[in-house]
């Protein structure tokens, strides 16, 4: 599980054990997600895409491997 702080109030986590290498996320939010040598999703260092793009990537992941969680402040 890899995670990163997307915005002050929102954290993004990816579950590589579920990833099916669709690259859907890397298309919809190319500054946040990319795929590694084996085709599995990884997180970039940022600056990230806007929240709308990242939410679209999470919603369109075929296996719900992208999890967005609010962070308590």
């Amino acid at each position: 599980m890899i995670e990163s702080q997307l915005t002050p109030g929102l954290r993004v986590r990816i579950d590589r054990n579920r990833c099916v290498c669709s690259e859907s996320c890397a298309r919809l939010a190319p500054n946040t997600f990319e795929t590694d040598d084996e085709g599995l999703v990884t997180l970039l260092a940022g600056p990230f895409d806007g929240e709308t793009a990242v939410r679209a990537a999470a919603a369109n992941c075929p296996v719900a491997a992208i999890i967005l969680e609010p962070v308590d402040r």
């Binding site: 099916v20 290498c21 590694d36 040598d37 084996e38 085709g39 599995l40 075929p62 296996v63």
Partner: protein, 425 residues
Amino acid sequence: MTLKDEISPAGASGVGRYDWERETTQRTGAGAVDDPYPLIAVRRAEGPVASDSFFGMFGLPDPMAAAWPGAQRFATLSYAATEAVLRDNVTFSNAGIRRMTEDVFGPVSLMGSDDPEHRQFRLLIQPAFGKKAMGLWTSWVKPRLDELIDGFVEQGRAELYFDYCAQFPVFVIAMTLGVAREDLDHFHELAAKLQIGAAPPDEARAARFQVEDYMRRVIAARRVQPRDDLISLLIDSELKTAEGSEKITEEQILGLVCNLLPAGAGTTYRSLGIVLVTLLQRPELLARLYGERDLIPLVIEEALRWNGPVLTAPFRLATADAEIEGVKIPKGALVEPGIAAANRDPARFDQPDAFDPFRPAQANLAFSFGSHFCVGGQVARMELRSALNALLDRLPNLRMDPDAPPPQLTGLLYRMPTGVPVVWG
């Protein structure tokens, strides 16, 4: 005019060579259904899930019905319903497919199993389609494309569907499997017969045994002398199990080969044919592509959405009473996830029937969804981009052959053009 007449290229090339292609595609609706989308739109307006199979909807004999006599049939037509079925692989299981594919795929069925068994085998082959392996795939694709163009470039005219599109994806997958060049045409025919619903069961079984005999010899050779190919990679693979890991067996390797062959051999070239006809019918867009190659990925994604090569993902078996978008699905029913229907859903895509490469970026279901998402999707995209680029590099002012019958798209389960007759220069 019958499909056989339409699909025969004007020249001598190709005639006779693809009789099996006509047979397999006619069984899946080519010639009987040219444009399935108007009826799908009518049915979708009645509700997100139809109480029928797609073949039933179009009044055609269903090549999949024999294995499940009497089962209640459903087909999803909206994006939300299709996504919901594909996402929930526990309620909507792939295991029902095994009853009809075990003869064809043998003991391993990526398509006919659920996680964790499915995931176990998928993880073995997934890296072979990832970024690192892409160089290997590309190294087969590019020279093959140039070689094919060399064959007709001097003539100023060609039938690209048979002499170009059909000639490289199966070549590439055969190369990665270690098939000798002289066996290629025969291998292509065998691969086509392994496609679901494309050949009578006894023919599909016979094709499987021939592929297995052939691949046993390749495996034996690679055990002695490994190469940089998929078979060598699989021989050394270990399956992760609950207890640890175990070496893959020869029967399992053969099973995986029979799973991959039809997937790689049919869809990509039909898709390329669809992309080319779509562009030839839009000369201004095609002309623009010569100078703006970065539009190619947009054109390909939109063609996959607008007229993908496959109408429906393999049916799912309801393992419990369930509900999709308010429609009750009883346990034991078969549900076809209508990926092509979803890709034309007006609730998801504005003006869904328009081919518009410039529409806002949006995921579509051409490569399916859920844990069975097409494992070769990125290789297929690379092949489509490469094939289009190679044509633009070498054939200036590409346009429809004015002396040939205008091609059209046809087919139900599998979609394709009747041909791609072109001239250039």
